[in-house]
């Protein structure tokens, strides 16, 4: 008690208020220490750049020179040093996969030159480089392709770090010559819709093979018409996604198709795969939309009703007896 009395003598009321204030401020701040820190998840320095066009798809003639401008934009807040390089690719599978190759076996790559293969972009700066194609005079007709890559050149890093290099590829596609308009361009390898369907949705599997010397963009068009109809109705074609098919390669379309009407019917499905220049490969199939499960239930219901009708006198008698007794 003696000590506190001595302190009270030493400190006046104002000083006590100050001490209390400091104590509460410390208490208040220490409370924050108990709350787990919250981090902004994504860092504030993303690396971002844009290339345009992303696909260069051009018809070429032998012995001619072409020039195409490519625009690259640095969208980040830091300067960006970009390096351009060319690579071959092979297509794999039927779903549009690439298999990149460091070799330059595709002749297209040897016909290409860039006005510069490195460029420095200031923050948000846009620059153009020219892609020049010099086609030789004697080259076989057909499709040629490659990829032009842009990747940031990273500074030397400390060991012990894993580097991440983001690359953007520009797809280069070129056809030399024009396909024979009378020659068949594509084979429809698979066209299945399934025969019987409970509802108006059905799975479509379509596989198309390029049998020409050139690559082309294939656009499948489905025309589905009911065979049984009260009145003629206009049939709108359904357009599936365009896909490029390279020479001797197969592409696949696998999706659910929903019919515009949901009435049970037999439908004829006409497929026309447009391969450009007015050329089409066609195929057709049939499918039946019918609610088999519901129909079975209705049939059972009919049988029950028929049974009841047939036995109505006995039932009537039974009910009479029941109510009479009660």
């Amino acid at each position: 008690m003696g000590i506190f009395n001595n302190i009270n003598i030493l400190l006046n009321t104002k000083q006590w208020v100050k001490i209390y204030l400091i104590f509460f401020i410390i208490l208040f701040l220490s409370a924050f220490q108990m709350i787990p820190p919250v981090y902004a998840e994504t860092n504030t320095s993303p690396q971002s750049f844009n290339v345009s066009p992303a696909i260069i798809n051009v018809p070429l003639s032998p012995g001619k020179k072409y020039s195409y401008a490519i625009t690259i934009t640095n969208l980040s807040n830091k300067p960006l040093l970009l390096q351009a390089s060319l690579k071959d690719f092979q297509t794999t599978g039927e779903e549009g996969d690439y298999l990149l190759e460091d070799t330059h076996t595709n002749p297209l790559l040897s016909w290409l030159t860039l006005s510069k293969d490195t460029l420095i972009l200031n923050p948000h700066e846009k620059k153009k480089i020219n892609l020049m194609i010099n086609t030789p005079k004697n080259i076989p007709l057909g499709g040629y392709y490659g990829i032009l890559f842009f990747e940031p050149v990273l500074q030397n890093m400390d060991s012990g770090k894993t580097r991440i290099i983001p690359q953007v590829g520009i797809l280069l596609l070129a056809n030399i010559g024009v396909p024979d308009p009378n020659a068949k361009q594509a084979d429809i390898l698979t066209f299945t819709t399934g025969l019987f369907h409970q509802t108006n949705s059905f799975p479509l599997l379509l596989r198309v093979k390029n049998i020409s010397l050139h690559f082309f963009t294939a656009k499948p068009i489905l025309t589905i018409s009911p065979l049984i109809s009260f009145k003629p109705t206009p049939v709108s074609p359904m357009y599936l996604d365009d896909r490029i098919i390279f020479q001797d390669k197969v592409r696949r379309w696998e999706e659910m198709i929903t019919l515009p009407d949901n009435h049970p019917n037999i439908y004829k499905v006409n497929l026309a795969v447009s391969t450009g220049n007015g050329n089409y490969s066609t195929e057709s199939t049939y499918l039946v939309v019918f609610p088999f499960a519901n129909a079975l239930l209705l049939l059972l219901l009919c049988i029950v009703i028929a049974f009841l009708i047939k036995r109505r006198k006995r039932l009537k008698g039974a009910f009479k007896a029941l109510f009479h007794n009660t």
């Binding site: 549009g96 690439y98 991440i164 068009i221």
Partner: protein, 391 residues
């Protein structure tokens, strides 16, 4: 059995059959349709006349586009200019058709060799119905049902002279016997004024690729706060690894593209001096191996359990939050918890979209773990994220 009893049974059977038949007919309406003759749909769809200059009296191209539902050989197509869409045709005043209009590239018709002709008239309005362009196919052939036909008349057409008026073109396809296959269907075009504005625009496919590091404490692929290393856009500084403690870093990859086929991002590691190109190396012999799961069959992360140094004593792998990949099983990295794959020098799909995207951000994770036998050293490697437009 007496005849009265027999008659009674017959009546009952008939009633039963009638009830069943009635039920079937009522409940299955399509069967009713079988008694009605089917009539094939006819008529062109998506028809339009695109003109290059809308000024009154201007000579310009007229590009016709329509979809034909028929596969029948088209011998000729007529394009009759009228002031109304249907009914009696009155030719637009002041419209002029050249004797031999010139054609651009005709597409969508099965046949070959096309000849354009016209009525060669100064279409003088009321009473004149003879204001027609004709395309004749020398060697007709069938086209696919739903074929989009494009017939561009490049020169030889001069617009009507009455301003601010809508005119119509009645399009009819005819067979070799001059019988109508489809049509007529009327496409409209407008003559606006004596002055016009030329508008031209081209939109190239473009591609934006953004990579941003994710800070520690972030969530990855169903986990909560499981990111324990802060990555930048270009580096993953794992720091000093502890045996038995996996480290996860992540990056957000954002794509913006109008490419019709969408895009694909693949992950790979760069080749190096060691046999088998392990993803992270230290000097000439020490390495951290690629994780055992593969891109086609990624697996739940498992700790490295090798007992010989540099042989499965350390693992490096990747995973993605994209649950709709374009190849293989779409959700193979996300279904049933995070699944991981080991990278190699061949790129493998980590993000994909088969359609154009305005902005799509996907998180990619990188995990590393070692056991007590992993040799000490400073390990370095390079992972590559390649973004390309799909074809």
């Amino acid at each position: 059995m007496s005849s009265a009893v027999k008659k009674h049974f017959y009546t009952k059977k008939l009633k039963l059959l009638a009830a069943l038949l009635l039920a079937v007919v009522i409940t299955l309406p399509p069967l009713v349709n079988t008694f009605i003759t089917s009539v094939n749909a006819a008529g062109l769809t998506s028809y339009k006349d695109q003109i290059g200059d809308s000024r009154a009296g201007a000579a310009t191209y007229h590009n016709f586009t329509f979809v034909t539902p028929s596969t029948t050989n088209i011998k000729s197509i007529t394009f009759q200019y009228c002031t109304t869409a249907s009914g009696t045709c009155t030719a637009p005043s002041g419209m002029i058709l050249a004797t031999t209009p010139t054609l651009g590239t005709v597409t969508g018709i099965g046949g070959t060799t096309y000849t354009p002709t016209s009525t060669n008239a100064n279409c003088t309005g009321a009473g004149n119905t003879n204001c027609t362009l004709t395309l004749t196919v020398t060697t007709p052939a069938a086209q696919g049902a739903g074929s989009t036909v494009i017939v561009p008349f490049v020169t030889g057409v001069t617009n009507p002279t009455t301003i601010n008026t809508t005119y119509f073109v009645r399009i009819t396809t005819l067979d070799g016997g001059a019988s109508t296959i489809d049509g007529s269907n009327s496409a409209a075009f407008a003559v606006l004024d004596v002055g016009s504005i030329a508008v031209s625009a081209t939109v190239d496919p473009n591609f934006t690729f953004t990579v941003a590091g994710v800070s520690t404490g972030g969530n990855f692929n169903g986990g909560t706060g499981n990111i324990n290393v802060t990555a930048t856009a270009n580096t993953i500084p794992y720091g000093s690894l502890t045996a038995g403690t996996p480290e996860i870093a992540a990056q957000d990859v954002t794509i913006v593209t109008n490419a019709a086929g969408g895009y694909t991002v693949t992950a790979s590691t760069s080749a190096n001096a060691q046999a088998g190109n392990p993803p992270l190396i230290s000097g000439a012999t020490n390495n951290i191996d690629t994780f055992t799961g593969t891109n086609t069959a990624p697996t739940t992360w498992s700790a490295p359990s090798g007992s010989t140094a540099n042989v499965n004593t350390g693992f490096f792998g990747y995973s993605t939050e994209d649950s709709t990949l374009c190849t293989g099983t779409a959700s193979r990295f996300t279904s049933g918890g995070a699944k991981w794959a080991g990278p190699n020098i061949t790129g493998a799909e980590v993000i994909c979209n088969a359609s154009p995207v305005t902005t799509e951000t996907t998180r990619i994770g990188w995990e590393i773990a070692i056991n007590a036998i992993q040799p000490a050293g400073s390990y370095t490697g390079t992972a590559i994220l390649i973004a390309t437009p799909s074809y």
